[in-house]
Symmetry: C2
Subunit: 190 residues, 2 copies
DNA sequence: GTCTATACTCTGATAGAC
DNA sequence: GTCTATCAGAGTATAGAC
């Protein structure tokens, strides 16, 4: 009484996504994945050359998805509101899908210098920041904002804050960074 | 012709520190550690009950060391200069000892809510921030600054920035956060 | 294209001789 | 207090039957 038992890349990826979401990268192993698909581990290798290929596929999907989330959140808003909304969406996504988010900034993740989904994601934030600061290609402020957002996500997740403080820290820090961008824009046409 | 061959907790910790610094937590394993000490793996268990105890000892040492570094860097400076110096020291330490730093913010690290070395570290930064913002127990701004610093460290390390931008992002972001603290202080006696 | 069976390497940890 | 020997488990990946 074999189950559907027909393996396709998409079916494998779907189950792999579930394992990733539940237990993180370290829980995405070939044996449990095969078990969840009612298949022997060796069968997976007919569809993906190795575990790394599986992770890469999930990583690309997460980059694309995350990028779309940020764009949707900021679409049609004025520059400061757009960036604020994107920042909120950033936080929400990282909370909702911590392990997908973790995949995006894993050590082996390709730097966003090379074309690809990660680069697209970078460009989305770069565009929002540059619009607010009215500074073309404002990498410095993009880096600063991204560092703040990522650091907040990581610290919050690791429980390094107590129970108080985190949310206030987010609003305070974000306000400080966005206000500075706005201030620069005001002084720019000088 | 056995080597010094006498095992002490400090000797073990010293070698463990080397392994950690070279390859991170995942490189700190009992077999390589024993080999480096010219000893059999089982011998280590006479001095440490398990691997976790070893990691905990290294983590406490790193917290204490890091705290001392920040205090030394900021000692005797005016509030803004003190905080800026501490931030620079934070970055330098994380760059110089990435794996010790990584231990401090590992998922299993105790939240700085409980007394201990981690709490002391938190209090150091909290004190510097509160002095500048002239806001007692200013957890929100401490969280914001810490998030920024940690995020910057992580992103820089993972190569997520290109070759340009990082350093400018650090100065820009730090300036924005510290200026806001100073501004709040100015408006406080109101 | 899935199966059985297995090779290989790594991990932490323990029992008991000396 | 270090040793030999071993347990028990994890992991990725491959060969070859069907």
């Amino acid at each position: 009484m074999p189950y559907p038992a027909k393996l396709t890349p998409d079916l494998i990826l779907s189950e792999a996504q579930t394992l990733l979401d539940n237990g993180g990268e370290s829980a995405l192993n070939m044996r449990p994945l095969a078990a969840a698909l009612h298949v022997q581990p060796s069968s997976l290798y007919r569809h993906f050359p190795d575990r790394g290929a599986l992770l890469q596929a999930l990583e690309d999907a997460a980059s694309t998805e995350f990028n779309r989330v940020l764009q949707t959140a900021s679409a049609g808003k004025a520059s400061r509101a757009a960036l604020w909304a994107a920042a909120e969406a950033y936080l929400s996504y990282a909370r909702a899908y911590p392990h997908r988010y973790g995949l995006l900034l894993s050590p082996h993740a390709p730097a966003p210098v090379q074309p690809g989904p990660a680069k697209d994601l970078w460009n989305t934030v770069l565009g929002l920041v540059s619009a607010l600061s009215q500074t073309p290609d404002d990498t410095a402020r993009t880096v600063a904002l991204w560092a703040f957002l990522h650091g907040f996500v990581v610290l919050e997740r690791s429980g390094q804050f107590g129970l108080s403080g985190p949310r206030g820290g987010f609003d305070t820090g974000l306000t400080a960074l966005l206000d500075e961008m706005k201030r620069v824009a005001a002084n720019r046409p000088e």
